[in-house]
């Protein structure tokens, strides 16, 4: 692949690596990468560390340009990048620091079922999910909305879906921000974004998006698992999707228009994809208003996907979703920018926290965690690749102190899609997964399976070990896939 990164990197301890500001003139703060000795060698094979250094150029950036252990080369920001900017110090907001799939995220649904209950029906279940949940490139959904309704989605997020009957109030309580960001401004959204959004509500998408039937195979923290309603041997469901074409269009519109704000506000960034504007400028506010609409669209979308999933379970098991215990554990966003309160040098400030492939991880006691989880910390849902594990973590105090309450978001790729396809040539990844681990995989595109094959990803356990070891989140439970639906 690419050459080994030759920049300056200083080891701080077993989990932390610093890129000093002296590496590149223009860096306003150092870079800080969370990684183990073995993960850092794969990270250095990639161009991601250079992107960590580039993000440190952003005006108003506070403390560090951060990178989580699942960091890999993106565009502008690395994936796994976190940056907080201070509006009182001309801090900026960068659409590239959120990404095109605004509020791409994950939700975890628990059940009262065990392997015994699903074993004989698993094939049926996975086929049924695959056939009934719109997925794949260009997929459009059965949930069609009018212009007026779309505006409601943008303003109310998952609350719109619940009002339509696609869920219950309890679902909202277990969704980050109750499934709706305040300050969404539909007037800042282009006609094109509206048009793309109308056709895709309730669709999974393609690429790394998926729906998985899993089994909890390890509990690390009984007390917290109990609070989240998780137990060993339990069947869970995971949905990974985002704001679809709507969010892609919003980001596209603003990355383009912010080319001009760089000159206007005399901002110097080393990559055009880091285009940004001061948070309090008209351009910054407009982007925030539109981005929040996309975030709300994504929460409505995942709520609709959960509704469709519950319906399919009801048909396959001939029981209501409630009696199957299909309750939402939690829903997290991992591509988002949020105004949050954090301490900087002992002083509490409102900062704009960009999380590009990173998850919020509030510690126990935080007021924005649902009451029933407050003693445990915020659930953090970490999806793995389709051949290995996914994890549930809990937010920890360390994240509050060091990472603006952020942690990792997944395994993180270590191989390009084309390299993965080459490596898997002539192989049937679905058959391999079934023969080796009994995992049933259904995907629209054959090449998706090769691109998403387990070997294209880092070892998720190593990633989780780092965030646990560094004290920025706490290991709670591990799930193993039984059935996977891919776009």
């Amino acid at each position: 692949m690419s050459q080994i990164w030759q920049g300056k990197l200083e080891k701080i301890d077993d989990y932390r690596w610093r890129i000093p500001t002296s590496y590149k003139p223009g860096m306003k703060v150092p870079g800080l990468i969370y990684a183990s000795e073995s993960l850092i060698s794969s990270i250095l094979n990639d161009r991601a560390p250079e992107q960590v250094a580039n993000v440190a150029f952003l005006p108003g950036i506070v403390k560090y340009s951060l990178a989580m252990p699942d960091i890999h080369w993106g565009y502008g920001f690395s994936i796994g990048g976190v940056a907080a900017t201070d509006p009182e110090r001309n801090g900026v907001i960068s659409p590239g620091g959120v990404g095109y799939d605004i509020n791409c995220g994950v939700r975890l649904i628990r059940s009262d079922l065990t392997l015994e209950d699903v074993k004989s029906k698993l094939q049926d279940l996975v086929n049924s999910l695959f056939n009934n949940i719109p997925c794949g490139v260009g997929s459009t959904g059965d949930i069609r909305v009018s212009d007026r309704e779309e505006e409601q989605i943008l303003a109310k997020g998952a609350g719109w879906a619940v009002k339509k009957g696609y869920g219950v109030k309890e679902d909202l309580e277990h969704t980050e921000d109750m499934g709706c960001m305040e300050g969404a401004d539909p007037s800042k959204v282009s006609d094109r974004a509206y048009e793309r959004g109308r056709r895709q509500a309730g669709t999974l998408g393609a690429g790394n998006h998926f729906l998985e039937v899993q089994i909890v195979d390890e509990i690390y923290d009984e007390r917290i698992a109990n609070i989240y309603g998780l137990f060993k041997g339990q069947i869970t469901l995971m949905i990974h999707s985002g704001s679809r074409g709507f969010g892609h269009q919003v980001c596209d519109d603003y990355v383009k228009s912010m080319a001009y704000t760089l000159n206007k506000y005399h901002i110097n960034v080393p990559d055009r994809q880091l285009a940004c504007a001061p948070i309090d400028s008209p351009e910054g506010k407009a982007y925030l208003g539109a981005m929040r609409c996309a975030a709300n669209y994504a929460w409505a979308n995942r709520q609709c996907l959960m509704y469709l999933t519950r319906e399919i379970f009801e048909k396959v098991f001939n029981k209501s979703w409630n009696s199957l215990g299909l309750h939402l554990v939690y829903d997290v966003a991992h591509n988002i920018a949020k105004m949050e309160r954090h301490k900087v040098n002992g002083e509490e400030k409102v900062l704009c926290v960009h999380r590009k492939g990173a998850t919020r991880a509030f510690p126990p006691g935080h007021k924005d965690i649902p009451e029933d989880y407050r003693d445990a910390g915020q659930p953090v849902i970490i999806p793995g690749d389709m051949g290995s594990y996914s994890y549930v973590l809990a937010g920890a105090q360390g994240a509050m102190e060091e990472t603006f309450s952020s942690t990792c978001h997944g395994a993180g790729r270590c191989m390009s899609r084309s390299a993965a396809i080459k490596k898997c040539q002539g192989r049937h990844i679905d058959k391999e997964l079934f023969n080796k681990s009994g995992i049933i995989v259904r995907a629209k595109g054959r090449s998706t399976l090769a691109e998403e094959s387990p070997e294209a990803y880092k070892d998720i356990t190593e990633v989780v070990d780092v965030v646990h070891g560094a004290g920025i989140s706490k290991r709670v439970a591990r799930m193993k896939p039984l059935g996977v639906v891919k776009g």
Binding site: H72, Y100, V137, G207, D252, S447
Partner: protein, 144 residues
């Protein structure tokens, strides 16, 4: 020199594009993008039953921005009208921000065709059009 080839990028997909002229560079970039989207299906047929004229008039900062505008416009039409474009012709290109082009292809029949990659957008990451002995070249990263 190849008109385009897919290059490695850890999370996303990149294209290295060449063209004897800027016009050809733009046409080849569009072909490459639709090959990423359609995979093998891009070469399955050469039928062009649908044609769309693309006109862009926008003040831009250089050819890179214009290239992103051109590819984004094609992506938008592809998403809206579900046409798999295969042939492209740039009729007029003015670096200050004007393109007149034509794209032709076929309506996608989703029951017969499985597309390969969902491109979310064409990014500016590291995008620089360079002039060399045989014309123009650039690398483009798509978010997928």
């Amino acid at each position: 020199m190849k008109p385009y080839e897919i290059i490695e990028h850890t999370a996303d997909v990149g294209l290295k594009v060449n063209g004897a002229s800027l016009e050809e560079l733009f046409e080849n970039a569009a072909k490459g993008m639709f090959e990423i989207i359609a995979g093998e299906a891009f070469h399955h047929s050469s039928k062009v039953s649908e044609s769309r004229q693309i006109q862009i008039k926008k003040a831009v900062n250089g050819s890179e921005e214009l290239l992103v505008e051109w590819l984004s416009e094609l992506l938008y039409i592809f998403n809206r009208e579900e046409i798999l474009f295969r042939k492209f012709k740039i009729l007029r290109l003015d670096n200050s921000g004007e393109i007149l082009g034509e794209a032709s292809g076929q309506k996608i029949n989703f029951s017969q065709t499985t597309l390969h990659t969902e491109i979310k957008a064409c990014t500016f990451h590291g995008l620089k059009i360079e002039k060399n002995k045989s014309g123009f070249t650039c690398n483009i990263i798509f978010d997928v």
